[in-house]
Symmetry: C2
Subunit: 460 residues, 2 copies
């Protein structure tokens, strides 16, 4: 499926079914292309319009003079084969079929028709019944969702593959509020032609993708999936949320996308065998995407906790204790001595290291500097409660500085509301993952440890 | 400890240690009293100032003419006994000792001194080494945290008791961003005199408190705690987060507040025996506080899921399946028939009920109305993905309407960013709990079920 590159980096896009009616899918897609600054050629196709939003409209793709790399198809299901046939004749390289009304409502025959046409003309077809693709760099965006409801995430290195459009769009929206960025998004719907395995094969070699996140309801081609799974997780971390953990979920998945969920326990075991990080919930996807997009790896499981709130330090120690994999670091004698000299007497030299409620940037900085040099410390959690008098953006800046001075993973826990949210975005933009609870931070570090160990075992 | 009412509803407050220096605790507290609109009498006490922020300052409490219901003490630890003695002579009813430097740094003797003075003069003393109290109705607020960092939560019925000031202030800040409100907050620090048991005894009879949330590191008087625990959970739900789940956490708790965490498993069993909801994490506190402040009880464990996103419906079915306590409802034949008539053909009549991505307020309203009347349904989860074209604030308004028409609990799942956040606040202000993931919604309903069953068993 090398043609996927035409779908993601098209020099020209035809929007077939571009509508004059505000709110219609084809109309929203055209608006989004115009509003988000796509710089290639744009051809609205609509037999009943001469102009659309200031662009010349075409009755058929055949009337367009130049080459077409991507056709976005948003016409009623029965018309799709005819439109795709026209695209084939015009040598269109790739197509996203937004339209629903195929296998998901029992219309398997109509779906098979478009698969045949795709094969005949060698068109890379995504869908039908999908949201399509989004690429933050090329600004390709086939989602028919209004931008005021869902702002586009910033440019980054996480690519997200979702069988469900609904799950996809909500996760995109959540990512937009986070400080890490997105590379590509794929909603592949019924997967008539291109499926999760094809997309993984593409992302395996994609330099703009450092982390892959997947939501899947069923796997179409098990053997091929396993093949690419083996290869990809040696190159980049893959996070997977698989629906159908329970019989209730599996039966709901079947009526949703006609997916056969399969035995979850078996699949989970396979995912883990290939070093995938298994998420159990939507929130996990964000937790894991964040750590893998901002941290490389960890050499071990010894965690130092530095905090300006004693109670939150205790709760974090509890989470570390119950993780079963991480442990609180035992500082070296040198570190203890250096801390004793550098810290005010109120600070008890122990892990968690409680810097007290009046800790400022200088105290945080000194503590991080000394602790990160300790050979007994592999990872650092800094708890910064911005509600305290001493903590402000100078602390955030200091943490960014220290994190970029050490090779060891540094994550922050900062629960709070609007004031904290500002500091969080600042720190994440500076490369520091920020979590809003001890539980999610410890989950993230545990996943990083598991993946680091997997890579080590495989390369040893 | 009847004098706690003077602490929470004081007609007059003396702030001892009110400072001229911006940022000092005594100064911030005075500023907060002025800024948040406390309507009683306010007396700054500072021997080196004649006026403070436009108010006449007093050198000693003895110079104040009127009665003093509450003294907020923010002076260095060695001076506290002397100041408290003066308060006693002045017949001050209650005192919050903000100052640190007592048992938590090994200075048990100094702490015992203030306990004796409190007993001698019958002053209700909270602290030392604490943030004190906040009452959203009386606008008493002894927290020395700047309001721009921590906005005051709206008025509500959740009271929050925290042994740790840091945990307390961050949870307050998080609550401020939620649509449910706060009644009272207690940070009781070293608990030299008033402890968690005294506060529970007060909240037991407090009509402004419908839900109690606690963070504790150690319980001081086990037998008395058990007595009030037994009584309170027949009247109102109690949510407890107990530090020291693991040995790592227990040892951190000991060095934090010198608390003996005790055997966690034993304590957890006791909490559950008395119908307390046990939280494992900060996020759980919010999840549970929300459901109990907005919902009464449930008659059973059958859940109907109504969604405008198929995938999120599947994930919710998975969470219900793995809860071990809830189950998907089986709609009655009457409901199925009525739904078939009311819904467009694209809607497959099943639970989860997938209303499709173009569902609008009318479709949501009709589905909720029919499903909530079904005798086979005990609770309803409505998944509203506001990223979809059909969902906007008319859907939010419709859900508020339906929720206030039925006696059955209705909760919403709406993951997203800023556009969704607006809808969430609107729905919660209208009495509908909104969660951002299937996992938290299902946790919340499970806790509601457990508590409802506890009450039923006890009253049968």
């Amino acid at each position: 499926m090398n043609n996927l590159k035409f779908m993601l980096k098209p020099k020209s896009v035809a929007i077939i079914g571009a509508s004059r009616v505000p709110g219609k899918a084809g109309r929203v897609i055209l608006e989004n292309y115009i509003n988000t600054g796509y710089s290639g050629k744009l051809y609205p196709v609509n037999p009943n319009a001469e102009n659309l939003l200031g662009l010349k409209a075409y009755a058929h793709v055949s009337e367009i003079k130049g080459n077409i790399d991507l056709a976005v198809i948003a016409v009623p299901a029965p018309v799709v084969p005819e439109v795709l046939e026209e695209c084939g004749k015009k040598k269109v390289k790739s197509a996203v079929v937004i339209s629903g009304g195929f296998a998901e409502v029992g219309n398997k025959e109509l779906q098979d028709k478009i698969v045949k046409i795709a094969e005949k003309y060698n068109i890379a077809v995504l869908g039908p019944n999908c949201l399509g693709v989004l690429d933050t760099r090329s600004r390709v965006n086939t989602l028919f969702l209004p931008t005021y409801k869902l702002s586009e995430p910033r440019v980054g290195y996480v690519s997200f593959v979702s069988q469900s459009g609904a799950v996809g769009s909500t996760v995109l929206d959540v990512i937009e509020g986070e400080g890490f960025g997105l590379s590509k998004f794929f909603s592949y719907g019924n997967a008539a032609a291109i499926d999760e395995t094809d997309i993984l094969n593409y992302l395996l070699k994609d330099k703009e993708t450092k982390v892959v996140v997947m939501y899947i309801e069923g796997i179409k081609r098990g053997a091929e999936f396993v093949k690419v799974a083996k290869k990809i997780s040696m190159k980049k971390p893959v996070i997977v949320l698989k629906a159908g953990r329970t019989s209730a979920g599996a039966s709901a998945a079947h009526s949703h996308t006609a997916s056969l969920a399969g035995n979850y326990a078996v699949q989970e075991a396979i995912f883990k065998q290939f070093g995938f990080t298994v998420a159990e919930d939507l929130e996990d996807l964000i937790t894991y995407a964040k750590i893998f997009s901002l941290e490389e790896e960890t050499a071990g499981n010894n965690v130092a906790v530095i905090t300006n709130g004693g109670g939150t330090g205790v709760l974090t120690a509890d989470e570390i204790g119950s993780s079963g994999k991480l442990r609180l670091a035992e500082f070296s004698e040198e570190t203890k001595e250096a801390l004793r000299k550098a810290m005010p007497p109120i600070v008890n030299i122990a892990d968690p290291l409680d810097l007290a409620g009046d800790a400022d940037a200088e105290r945080f900085g000194k503590a991080l500097e000394l602790v990160s040099k300790d050979p007994n410390v592999d990872m650092i959690i800094a708890i910064v409660l911005f509600q305290t008098p001493g903590a402000d953006s100078t602390v955030a800046a200091e943490i960014i500085k220290q994190k970029n001075t050490t090779d060891k993973p540094v994550v922050v826990i900062s629960p709070g509301s609007s004031y904290t949210a500002m500091q969080k975005i600042m720190m994440e933009s500076g490369g520091v993952p920020v979590y809003d609870s001890p539980a999610s931070a410890v989950k993230a570090l545990t996943a990083l440890l598991d993946y680091s160990n997997y890579r080590k075992r495989k390369t040893d």
